[in-house]
Symmetry: C2
Subunit: 221 residues, 2 copies
């Protein structure tokens, strides 16, 4: 499968790119608003993977060109760029499915707070911005970026997947479980996305207030 | 320590009462709107504990009388009864601290959804309803009631504790950790309560959509 990571130069994009490239046979494509930046990051990832004895090619393109090549297109951009990014690549999506890992948050002295867009969740915002026939799935929200990007660390974490399209949701759960130590759990239809996204500020608060939990993640047992 | 569980006849109240009575030396007091109901449930709990070879007394009173006896008063009532319950016992609290485990939720076809009161969280609602000098701590939100009340099951779970008063917060973390298999994590000041409470509908959705996860709970690692 070909996975295009729009915003694949950012920290969650980096972790997902490295993990999918290293742990699976999927082809990873990096997208960015600037093709040059996508290519340069893709080369960094290749170097990191090559230092671990793998010889993989990761390509980098401007977002729309990356989207055109993906069977799965991950919108790994900050929440305030999500709608514009999806609209900019809408004509290139074809049969692809969209994955939304972003979370809207405010930060104040006390900590991080969940701040969904008016659509109700970032995942719902992606669905609003996407062509009607494109399935949208929420997933990969609550992962500490440093831990995800460090291939020396076994994840031992869960990620929660929401979406209305059964096939698309199961594809994303399988993509999650292709990553060693990551389990994908079904959290219901897209309407349940806010309850998934709101865990990200909580994880940030726990990391802040408890010693030794800098890279904390969540599991359900 | 004397722990008064207002609404201690309900399912979360039952689990906390049994666990504290069984695992710790704290004295557990059951409160209810009706003294008779509190006494009858307290006797049920005594019978359950006695079947496990312990000989403990659990007393039951009307909520205000229970509150008057507690060093720690847990408001284990449904969210729509929280404000009334706190106001009804306010004059009896003295030096006690209040603990809020309730969560506001809506349920629709898709699942459970977080629905905090206008105060921003149930914990904040308790703080609004309580006398100013009474410390309020949020905790014990995301525990499956059946699992909590079944003393045969080791919990192996985390609970998230929020509050502005450091001593009160640490007291509640210690109370959590008195229960075998339960770890209390510090999630920041009371302002961070919504990010804790919103995990409850998520846990309910995960239980619904994944086989074999009926009694699922959350851990942070």
């Amino acid at each position: 499968m070909r996975i295009a990571l729009l915003g694949g130069t950012g920290d969650i994009g980096e972790g997902l790119a490295l993990r999918w490239a290293f742990h699976t046979d999927h082809e990873v494509i990096i997208g960015s608003r600037e093709a040059e930046r996508a290519r340069s990051k893709a080369e960094e990832y290749e170097t990191e993977l090559s230092s671990r004895g793998t010889d993989l090619t990761i390509e980098g393109y401007e977002n729309a060109e990356a989207a055109a090549q993906g069977d799965v297109v991950v919108v790994a951009v900050p929440p305030w760029h999500v709608a514009d990014t999806v609209e900019a690549v809408a004509d290139e999506l074809g049969e692809a499915l969209l994955v939304s890992p972003a979370v809207g948050m405010n930060h104040d002295e006390a900590g991080a707070h969940y701040a969904p867009p008016p659509a109700g969740s970032v995942t719902a915002l992606v669905a609003e911005a996407a062509p009607e026939e494109v399935p949208v799935v929420g997933g990969f929200h609550n992962l500490a970026a440093d831990r995800l990007a460090n291939l020396d660390v076994n994840l031992d974490l869960d990620t929660l997947v929401v979406g209305d399209d059964v096939d698309a949701r199961e594809t994303v759960i399988a993509l999650a479980e292709g990553i060693e130590g990551l389990r994908g759990l079904h959290a219901g239809p897209l309407e349940n996305a806010a309850e998934v996204e709101c865990v990200t500020p909580l994880v940030i608060n726990i990391a802040r207030y408890n010693d030794g939990m800098h890279d904390v993640g969540v599991t359900f047992e």
